[in-house]
């Protein structure tokens, strides 16, 4: 087996998996890490300033989860992509390549839905 078909399977699974896992991580708060840019601190997992200290801390120490969501999606997609390379080649015929662009479009629509609270303020 040559490199190209294996990488193709990896890329298809990675792209589809990344989009879906990102939305799940975004919706369910599954950040691999939390960044506190004011202090230059990075913590593993999802943390909220107001949960560990005074609610006012949320303003004083804003936390960032985008890096964590992206890391969660990248890691999850890496696992899915790696598993796809281990599957027999004939299984790939059952996977429609169009999922690699349909999944991100659906994920982007889900992100629009998750962002609606900003527009209701």
């Amino acid at each position: 087996m040559t490199f190209a078909p294996i990488f193709r399977r990896f890329a298809l699974a990675y792209g589809t998996g990344f989009a879906l896992i990102y939305v799940i991580a975004r919706a369910r708060g599954l950040a691999l890490l939390t960044v506190y840019p004011s202090f230059g601190i990075v913590l593993l997992g999802m943390h909220r300033s107001r949960d560990v200290a005074d609610p006012a801390m949320d303003f004083l120490a804003p936390e960032m989860w985008w890096y964590g969501w992206t890391a969660t999606a990248a890691l999850g997609a890496l696992v899915i992509g790696s598993l796809a390379t281990l599957c027999p080649a004939r299984w790939a015929r059952w996977f429609w390549p169009g999922w690699v662009w349909v999944a991100p479009v659906l994920a982007m629509m889900a992100c629009v839905y998750l962002t609606i609270p900003w527009f209701r303020q």
Binding site: A4, G15, G17, A73, W101, P104, L114, W118, Q121
Partner: protein, 154 residues
Amino acid sequence: MATALLILHGLVAVALLGAITHQTLAAWTPSSARTRSFFGRFRAVQPAGYANAVVGLYVGTALLGAVVYLYFEVDIQPGLERDRHWHALGFFDLKEDFVAIGFGLLPAYWISWRRPFAGERGRTGAALTTILGFIVWWSFLVGHVVNDIMGFGS
């Protein structure tokens, strides 16, 4: 430092915007090299030749943006919240999400231009390019509006 990074981020984004726009139009409406119109010449490029450049520029722009985002969160966002620019913050949130999703598409995008998927006649590559093009245009416009918001509409 933040200003220099933001300017560099914007400059790399301009190059990415040009490359992805050329490629998207060439993928959907290819034109002959002998066309005389500006629009025709704009489309008369080999779209596959842009794949490496788009991947490199996307990664570079996203990484620079990820660094600048740290400054944004500390220095800019509190001011936008104080002035109740909720729509701008919502659009910026979408920019973050779209850029991350586009980042995950890069391997499939790259391989689809290097070796088109069997039975797809290049449609997967064109579709992925269109999605990336939308993400890049969205990010560029939202980034500019948020960057200029204290003058824009205030």
